[in-house]
Symmetry: C2
Subunit: 386 residues, 2 copies
């Protein structure tokens, strides 16, 4: 009898395990030296002998190292499972895929909720302010540890895209290509504003206690509100209308401010679920890193990129109003001005910012063909990124 | 020596006083009878003998009766002062302008912070759930009290526009015209979602205490976050970029999550200021009224409007993404299908939703000429609305 489930399906990477890598210390952008640092990571597929088939996938704000497959005894698929596996866009029959949880996170990597070895207590706000470049510098140590000199590609959406741009700027010689998706060179005031309101919501929660909540109740309500704001910005007006309309939920009306509309119930559900799996201080540190990031370092981005030989595929989505297409076009323009081989596609989607997780078919098509081209150039012709 | 200040300027209505009108009770949409009800209101200009020159201005979420002029000893102008006064769009040399604070509000009208005569304590959540139609029914009693049978116009933006549509649907025979600005027949899930997150933020504040905070500390942090969310939605991506850019504030960096960017400082300032003048429970009741409102009563809006003879001027703003132009166009379409004399203008503005308060020149021009035409038809030709 053949028993078929998700883990035996031919296009799944199957059961995976999270690994971890610890190194002594990292020199931060602020000048501070911080350590030890542990990064949680997963890999899918096999590294070839020449070590030319490694692709780093970097996650968004609330993501983690679990990008594909399932854990033993669980059935929750990784956050980008639709893209990673045998025959998929990131074809694990061809490529070696790495995904690590970021520095500052709360899913196995060192972050504010980790225990400070000096005090034997969680860092809380003693955790240093980190930037996107610090997150990437930590990833670089992992890639070195794995013995990979040159990545075939670094790929990610949203905050993942910010990391991709940081890789492009800081490590062009260690890359053949990059794929920044639904991202920006630097946050606009509107993007900063949405993050700031989320931070205010967390810090306004009575349980936040200047970050020292680890031995008591966490600021769950503040974090839930921050997440709800996020969810609104991840969807489009249209995708919300299609998903919820003005459908009213069954409710007793004993309480006046119950979730009458389905959209209200959805937001409450998503907010309440998020707080079970995410640390509020990590939310503060990571959003601040996003807001402070400027891939152009105050210069013209094309000048920063000058001389770079890395191939670039940029993807944006039509209904994404959080990271609007004009921001991707700014990246495209700078790349072209810098003489970089650049492909750009604005995918026609109604999903809003969430599209980078949901537009599987078109996005897969773009990524698959781009990687094929890059891999061919690297393997067969020996053409390098830079 | 001539001393010139705001109150002696020729285009100001000068010093004004808020008045109030109390009536026994109101039959609410829920079937409940509620009272007594007090409405705070102001008037500017003089009612003519024939009582044909009265215009009702209805305010948005955080507005009040103080639409024009200043109070004795204060210098804060009314919220729509740029539009109301001698020679302005609402020309007080010609028209009699009325503006009342809404039922459920906290600026002199009966709302959840008012004392319940039965308990001698603030109503808090014993205040009944109200709808936009209830707000308008209370206003109608004020208009009756002032002896006005037919209003020359009812004008308002945002939630004011929802009240305008309620007037149009419920009292067409008491109107010559209406001007709904930057508004909608009914809220979309996205609009509901932003309000819901604001409500969650208030109700998640430890000080909210199921609404019973009047003898202690109010849920100031929760309300401030709700207001900050509001402010982001009132501006456009572009107007925020123009106003703030990525300018960093001077900050000591002793605290890691200080307001580094000007936009952060602005939001905190606006949030903190708002809580000094607004009641959190009013915020809950009013936003719920907005979300529940459906001018089309579940039917096609053109069918609800059939036979109405009221003249309509609809105004929307290009960069307004909270009440996008497509929602105004839905009103236009329904009015035209119902055979109503309808004028529509989408003003080219970068201010976002705030444009209805800020685009003085073009909006004044539209309103001035529309009112002139309506007044002429009403006065000279004796043509009635319906």
């Amino acid at each position: 009898m053949i028993k078929e489930n998700k883990i035996t399906q031919h296009d799944s990477v199957g059961i995976v395990k999270t690994q971890s890598f610890t190194f002594d210390s990292l020199s931060l952008e602020t000048g501070e030296r911080f350590g030890p640092v542990t990064l949680a990571y997963e890999t899918y597929g096999a590294l070839n002998q020449e070590k030319t088939n490694a692709i780093l996938i970097v996650h968004a704000l609330s993501g983690d190292a679990h990008a594909a497959g399932i854990y033993e005894g669980h059935d929750e698929l990784g956050w980008w499972d639709a893209f990673i596996g045998p025959g998929k866009a990131f074809d694990t029959d061809k490529y070696f895929i790495i995904c690590s949880n970021i520095l500052g996170g709360c899913k196995g990597s060192t972050g504010p909720s980790s225990v400070n070895p000096k005090t034997a207590k969680p860092y809380a706000l003693d955790f240093p302010l980190i930037g996107i470049n610090d997150i990437v510098n930590a990833q670089k140590k992992l890639i070195d540890h794995l013995g990979i000199e040159k990545l075939l590609s670094v790929v990610g959406g949203s905050m993942g895209g910010q990391q991709v741009l940081s890789w492009l700027v800081n490590y062009p010689h260690n890359l053949c290509s990059v794929v920044p998706i639904a991202t920006t060179i630097k946050h606009s005031p509107q993007q900063i504003a949405f993050n700031e309101v989320g931070r205010q919501s967390i810090m306004g929660d009575e349980h936040w206690k200047s970050g020292n909540y680890y031995d008591g109740t966490a600021p769950l309500k503040g974090l839930a509100v921050a997440r709800m704001i996020g969810h609104i910005t991840y969807m489009s007006d249209k995708s919300m209308a299609e998903k919820f309309g003005r459908i009213k939920k069954e409710s007793s009306h004993e309480f006046k401010f119950t979730a009458d509309f389905e959209v209200e119930g959805y937001l409450r559900y998503r907010g309440d679920n998020f707080v079970k799996r995410f640390d509020a201080n990590s939310y503060l540190y990571i959003t601040k890193a996003m807001d402070n990031f400027d891939a152009s370092r105050g210069k013209r981005f094309e000048d920063v990129l000058a001389g770079t030989k890395v191939k670039v595929l940029i993807i944006s989505f039509k209904s994404d109003w959080l990271y609007p297409a004009y921001q991707s076009k700014e990246i495209v323009k700078a790349c072209k001005l810098a003489g970089i081989e650049t492909t750009y596609c604005e995918v026609d989607s109604t999903y809003g910012h969430d599209a980078f997780l949901l537009e599987v078919e078109e996005e897969s098509h773009l990524i698959r063909h781009f990687l094929k081209k890059v891999f061919y150039a690297y393997e067969v012709t020996g053409e390098y990124g830079s």
